[in-house]
Each structure stands twice: as structure tokens, then as C-alpha cells.
Symmetry: C2
Subunit: 120 residues, 2 copies
């Protein structure tokens, strides 16, 4: 859903976005547009060395919120549908991790040509 | 609303976000979570050298959409309330520009420590 290679597509500030790409990216930003989901994603993304590669049991996520487990699971499902995280059930629990490259790809999309050192 | 200096605050993948910052940033991502607003922001951000510094008349934005001017103005208002753009009325028209640094600051927030070259 998000292009893994940030260099493949023009950034937000490089050229006007076309309809299709705007629709795709809006889904991802919409998933990020909620404080609970942002905190969940941050808890997952900050696990492990270098901020990626770690995985978190849903049993560690739920206690950080004053919300029911079904509500937390629903927010995690929206993050998964947006292509930001993935999960696997092992025994009783489900484990979540951030899909490699998606956060940096999204960051690359927002970075202006000025900051990226490209002169337009 | 968004910290101008990306280095001031931990990124999404550096440490779990606190409540207050999650609420602030969720507002910004929510503003980006709509295809029309993303296209409007891209049209404004891609104006001018290096992808920043340009400004766009609302009269140039509206014809790109099959939407009424009040609808476009409403979307622009949400982008402005999120601290992404600002505007000024001059004569008949309103002119919009992207606030300096906000896109790169947001990109910095999403960049993982791995991609930023920091070993956690």
C-alpha cells in the first residue's frame, strides 16, 4: 500500500499528487490520525534495536490504555489494514511488528526537496 | 502545533509517545487523512523553488476539483487549523502557503532511528 522505495514516487512537495496516490496515502494518514493508534504504533515501532525489527505481544499493549482489549484490537486492525503493521498469533497471544520500511517511506514522502538536498 | 525543530522530540520509533504529543500529532495526521486535503497540500507545497516558499491563489486550487469553493475552503481551513498551511487575503482572493519546516518536522518524526543513522 505504501511504496517501500521512497525514491520511486514524487514527494508531496515535489509535484501535485494524483488522485490514486492521494487516496492510497490518505488511508495511511487517516490510520495515524488517532492518538490511541499513534501511541500503539509508537509502542510497537520503538521496540527492538534501531527502532525496528522488534515485536510486541498484544498483552503488553493493552495495559497501557484505559480501553478494553476489543477496542485495542480494533485500532490495531486499522493500523494493519493501512499497511503499517502486521501480526501473527502464537498460542494465546497475537504479536505485532511494524512492516519494514513503511515509516521511512512515509517520511520520505513528506520530506521537502529542500530538506532532501534537491534543488528544484 | 508541530515542533519546528525535528531534533527536539523523540521520533515515533524512538520511544513510546506520551498522551499529549500523541493528541497533537494525531490532529495533524487526521488533517492529512483525506485525499482532497492531501492533493490541496501537495499543490501548495509543490509551488515555488525547492518545494517551499511558493504561494497559491485559492482561484488556482478550486478548478482542479469537482467540488464547490466553500468545500475547498473548508478543507483548506482544516489544513490551516492543523498548523500545516497559512493564508492571507489580498483583494478578491486568498493566498495559501505551507508553513516552513512543518513537513520536514513531520518527516523527522516518522523517520526510524535506523534510517536516521542512529544506533539505539
Amino acid at each position: 500500500m505504501i511504496d517501500q522505495d521512497a525514491a520511486c514516487c514524487p514527494g508531496l512537495a515535489s509535484a501535485p499528487l494524483d488522485d490514486g496516490r492521494a487516496a492510497e496515502l490518505a488511508k495511511v494518514f487517516k490510520a495515524l490520525g488517532d492518538p490511541v493508534r499513534l501511541r500503539l504504533l509508537s509502542m510497537i515501532a520503538s521496540r527492538g534495536e534501531g527502532g525496528q525489527g522488534g515485536e510486541v505481544c498484544v498483552c503488553e499493549l493493552t495495559p497501557a490504555f484505559a480501553l478494553s482489549q476489543p477496542t485495542i484490537s480494533h485500532h490495531l486492525k486499522l493500523l494493519r489494514q493501512a499497511g503499517l503493521i502486521d501480526c501473527e498469533r502464537r498460542g494465546t497471544w497475537v504479536y505485532y511488528w511494524v512492516l519494514p520500511g513503511v515509516l521511512d517511506s512515509l517520511a520520505g514522502f513528506l520530506t521537502t526537496p529542500q530538506a532532501a538536498g534537491v534543488t528544484a
